[in-house]
């Protein structure tokens, strides 16, 4: 354990912030989705770092579950994007403002 865990946690915080800011400033829904993946990865890194710092395998198991949920989320999200694209050929989040079915 030569690199202290705090460095990993700081890196994870920066990754999370970059993902969050990207989610706010980009309007292409696919790239917004990638930013969500970035944030999930930052949290995964935090979990693994705490698993090492606390000497607890539970953190790594939680990361496994996060991976499964992320996979499910991507599948459903991309299906929604495909279904939006089928109506209107546009990938801009600002234009998808109608709630009419």
């Amino acid at each position: 354990m030569s690199v202290p865990g705090a460095w990993y946690l700081g890196l994870a915080a920066m990754l999370f912030t970059i993902g969050g800011v990207g989610l706010l400033i980009r309007r292409n829904v696919l790239i917004m989705f990638m930013c969500v993946e970035l944030m999930l990865n930052a949290v995964n890194l935090t979990f693994v770092t705490y698993a090492r710092m606390m000497n607890d395998i539970g953190g790594q198991v939680v990361v496994f579950f996060v991976l499964v949920v992320a996979a499910a989320e991507v599948v459903v999200g991309l299906a929604i994007i495909v279904s939006i694209f089928r109506r209107r050929a546009d990938a801009t989040a600002d234009d998808i403002s109608l709630l009419r079915g």
Partner: protein, 179 residues
């Protein structure tokens, strides 16, 4: 040596993350995302999470990014976008302020302590045995119910994706406005 690995992987992570946000082309963003995911996988290996590093590369870089690229190519949105354009007034400065606030808050709160609480509640992470064995032992004993429920979640996700992306030509709920 550990520091070298950490610095290189962290630089790759941060560069990839910035690339995802700043690239104007969706395909470039997806490739930058792969770089970040590989960097995180290296950091997993550096922290003895070997199983998760393998899963990270296979599931994220192998499956999820390929899915992203597949959708980008399928929908034909592989054209550049003007990143600088701003439609909602004040959206970008507020986003930067929020990001700065988040990171400043995290680092200010972290000045006291990064870690506290009981250790090794769900099982030790080091000691004899491989990492895969320890993850599996915890997953199939203590977290067995949650593990079984993830299979239900995956089935629901697959069914939901099929229903959402289904092409219903007879004017069903989905795709009724397209013609």
């Amino acid at each position: 040596m550990d520091w070298v690995v950490f610095v290189v992987a962290a630089a790759a992570c941060l560069a990839g993350a910035l690339g995802v946000v700043l690239a104007s082309h969706p395909v470039h963003s997806a490739l930058m995302l792969v770089m970040t995911l590989f960097g995180v996988a290296v950091l997993f290996v550096a922290q003895e999470a070997h199983f998760l590093a393998a899963v990270q590369v296979i599931v994220y870089a192998g499956a999820i990014v390929v899915l992203f690229l597949f959708v980008i190519m399928l929908l034909g949105v592989d054209r550049t976008e003007n990143v600088r354009a701003e439609r909602l007034p004040g959206q970008r400065p507020i986003a930067y302020l929020a990001g700065a606030g988040v990171i400043a808050g995290i680092f200010l709160l972290a000045r006291t302590a990064w870690v506290s609480g009981a250790e090794s509640v769900a099982g030790v992470a080091d000691g004899p045995g491989s990492n895969v064995e320890k993850v599996a032992r915890s997953l199939f004993t203590r977290y067995l119910l949650a593990f079984e429920m993830t299979s239900v979640l995956l089935v629901i996700a697959v069914v939901g994706a099929v229903v959402l992306a289904r092409h219903s030509p007879s004017g069903g709920v989905h795709g009724s406005e397209e013609s």
